[in-house]
Assembly symmetry: C2
Homo-oligomer: 240 residues x 2
């Protein structure tokens, strides 16, 4: 389940994002105190790892932050895609919420000191890290608004666009293929909906001919502008 270092991250270095900014000696330094972990789906990262190495770099798969109430209700407040940095350090008190793999996920975890030292000496890495974390703030703000003021159909439409923005997706003759990287029940936890409502919502969007659902984990967007109008609060029963 855990490797000895961060060699794997070099895979990512050739792709995009944070690791690309690192010099080989910096990767070496990070590797010394890092750990590469493969987390099976539905398992969460243990507290000890979080305490010792609170900086997580997603390599593969989807990782979510799951919160739980005392009566068992649980929700996913955010999710992370490959290349994302998750900084679990928290000023006051401990982190509320667990890191959970929504799909089988691979990631590197770093201790805060080593990570900060590397950033301090590598401005471009610092810049990319700041950019990634800043983007998370804006995504979280959008998501909070979605949860606060949108109806189920609107939330689902927004979620489809969020998946589009955050993932690889393919387009062909007017249709856009979007990979939904998690189960419907996880979508529900993320959108503050029950899985039944997620199912009914997607089906309703399909009935309106805005999307097609070849399988639960894939969505083909047939009418982007109309779907966007739904996401932005237009009544779907009105023309346009």
């Amino acid at each position: 389940m855990s490797g000895t270092g961060c060699r794997r991250c070099r895979l990512l270095a050739s792709n995009r994002g944070f690791c690309r900014q690192l010099q080989s000696d910096e990767i070496e330094r990070l590797s010394l105190n890092s750990r590469s972990t493969l987390l099976p789906r539905k398992t969460s990262l243990d507290c000890q790892t979080i305490a010792e190495r609170p900086i997580v770099l997603t390599i593969e798969g989807i990782i979510g932050i799951q919160h739980t109430l005392s009566d068992g209700r649980s929700g996913i407040s955010a999710f992370y895609t490959p290349g994302d940095i998750i900084d679990l350090r928290r000023r006051s008190g401990s982190v509320r919420g667990n890191l959970v793999a929504l799909t089988p996920a691979q990631f590197c975890s770093f201790d805060a000191e080593t990570f900060d030292n590397v950033l301090k000496q590598n401005p471009s890495a610092q810049h990319v890290a700041s950019e990634i974390l800043r983007e998370q703030i804006h995504l979280a703000a959008d998501h909070s608004f979605d949860l606060g003021k949108k109806r189920s159909l609107e939330r689902l439409a927004s979620f489809i666009f969020e998946c589009q923005n955050r993932q690889r997706h393919t387009a062909s003759n007017g249709s856009i293929n979007i990979e939904v990287p998690m189960r419907h029940c996880d979508v529900g936890e993320y959108l503050g909906l029950q899985p039944e409502t997620v199912s009914r919502g997607f089906r309703e969007l399909a009935r309106l001919k805005l999307i097609v659902l070849p399988e639960p984990s894939r969505i083909v967007v047939k009418n982007t502008s109309k779907l966007r109008r739904v996401a932005n609060g237009a009544r779907s029963d009105l023309p346009g």
Copy 2:
């Protein structure tokens, strides 16, 4: 409405947070390209300012990010207290959401380049800024969970604790005085509730003897542990 520089920030420098990390020459550099603005309640920051100086440092008052749907529904996805840094730069596309003063608010705004340059040369300022922005991510995650899975009473209880954590508050003989820095209608927009529901909820918490409401903008917490249990999802009608 707008001053010529950021001299006012020196007030803050004597207090806490980001400005305290700055050398006087850095303050000078920032001042040259910054602007101090006093925003009356319910007014929002114009797009031009956001485009030119997307980094905002709250000095006084409460600032919120307000989003609006095409049918007029609006919500506040986050709010900021004095000392907070708001970084409105966004990787893809423009910022969704407006900066709105929830109380009369004073702040400084900086252009991105100057701000980044100062941070690049001042690691401790960089560190404080990162810490502030990181905290925003966690606050946003907590808030998303609140909106997604909590009932109105639970949201209000959580909100009271959020106000407690983010503000000055006074305690006396077992009671905690908490200043609610915004109107009930703003609380509603922030919590995804209607103002009527906010009113009913606070009143219900008062009926349960968890809080006392001397006036709309002040809450006295009488039973912290029980209120915390409500915030964490315990049924308020059960004993304990």
